[in-house]
């Protein structure tokens, strides 16, 4: 009887172990953890995006340029050790107070942070169809082009941005809403955040009336 007691106890322990194992459902726990991590990464991406918008608002209220590049370069540098890549393209356009019938300059800066060189970049302004082609725009660098327009009424122009890298070809149409008596900054951003858990991306514009 005492020997059987050992066998019965062993059997009970085995049943308990089986119950523990089945209640753990490891696959579900792993899935839950992944879901939580991806949710947190989405929030972190929103934080980066929102602060970029904040940079635009703060900078152009103070008439400071270059802060967006500074912010993007900083965030990229901070994310790198966490094996997270922040890549994308920023198209920054601005014009000073528009006077009816007078020439006004449209200053365009394209900042490449795609993580690779842009082999060919073409900017076309719908006002007069004028364009500019740039070659070999390195990662973390920008190019500038000044266009000119003259209007006697409020109008929406389009800035077309075409680029080709070794991995992709893209075309964006950025609306430039011109109003007589107003000066504006128009930012277009393509943001992509890649990590081991996946990718978050967004394309958005931000228009700010400047001083």
């Amino acid at each position: 009887m005492k020997g059987q007691f050992f066998l019965i106890s062993g059997l009970i322990i085995i049943v308990v172990l089986l119950l523990i194992k089945s209640s753990l459902n490891l696959a579900q726990i792993i899935e839950n953890k992944k879901y939580l991590e991806m949710g947190l990464e989405r929030k972190e991406f929103s934080n980066i995006r929102d602060e970029l918008v904040e940079t635009v608002e703060l900078s152009y209220n103070k008439n400071e340029t270059g802060n967006m590049e500074k912010y993007i370069v900083y965030v990229r540098q901070r994310l790198k050790p966490r094996t997270i890549d922040l890549n994308g393209l920023a198209v920054e356009s601005s014009f000073k107070k528009v006077i009816s019938g007078s020439n006004t300059g449209l200053n365009v800066t394209v900042f490449n942070f795609l993580g690779e060189t842009i082999q060919s970049l073409n900017l076309t302004f719908s006002y007069d169809g004028s364009s500019q082609v740039f070659s070999n725009v390195a990662d973390n660098s920008s190019v500038k082009k000044d266009f000119t327009f003259s209007t006697t009424s409020d109008v929406n122009y389009t800035l077309t941005v075409n680029y080709t890298t070794s991995t992709e070809t893209r075309r964006y149409s950025v609306q430039i809403p011109v109003q007589i008596g107003k000066s504006k900054f128009i930012g277009f951003f393509n943001l992509r955040m890649n990590s081991l858990r996946g990718e978050n991306r967004d394309e958005f514009s931000k228009v700010v009336e400047t001083a």
């Binding site: 005492k2 050992f6 085995i14 172990l17 194992k21 953890k33 947190l40």
Partner: protein
């Protein structure tokens, strides 16, 4: 003879339990730790709440980590310890000795008087 049989049955029972245990739990498959992810999420949400009160950027620019920690006191669950650092180009080192530790990262760009991006990091671990 009876004693030997009892011992033999006991050995069989022990071997059976060990075998089943190794088959079920011995594959090296670790149970993922969800707690640290939860701490990170709580830390991030807490920093976001401070930012939404328009306090975080100003405190980060001033490198006032004590005030950020005071703000966190009411936002993080009891029983957790935490330490805040503000990173510019690099992060100050922290000396925390805990078996399990998590960190939440939050970016701020500055305020109306000073545009200077910073990363606020809160390290979270179970209190002693």
């Amino acid at each position: 003879m009876k004693g030997v049989l009892k011992s033999f049955e006991a050995v069989i029972a022990i071997l059976a339990v060990i075998t089943v245990y190794l088959v079920l739990f011995g594959s090296g498959e670790k149970i993922p730790d969800i707690e640290v992810v939860t701490w990170r999420t709580r830390g991030f949400e807490a920093l976001k709440a401070i930012d939404e009160k328009n306090k975080l950027a100003t405190l980060a620019l001033a490198n006032d980590t004590s005030s950020i920690e005071s703000e966190l006191a009411s936002l993080l669950p009891l029983g957790l310890d935490y330490d805040v650092v503000v990173c510019s180009q690099s992060c100050p080192s922290v000396g925390i000795s805990s078996e399990k530790i998590s960190s939440a990262n939050y970016f701020v760009v500055g305020n109306t008087t000073n545009i200077d991006p910073k990363e606020v990091v809160v390290y979270i671990w179970r209190g002693t």
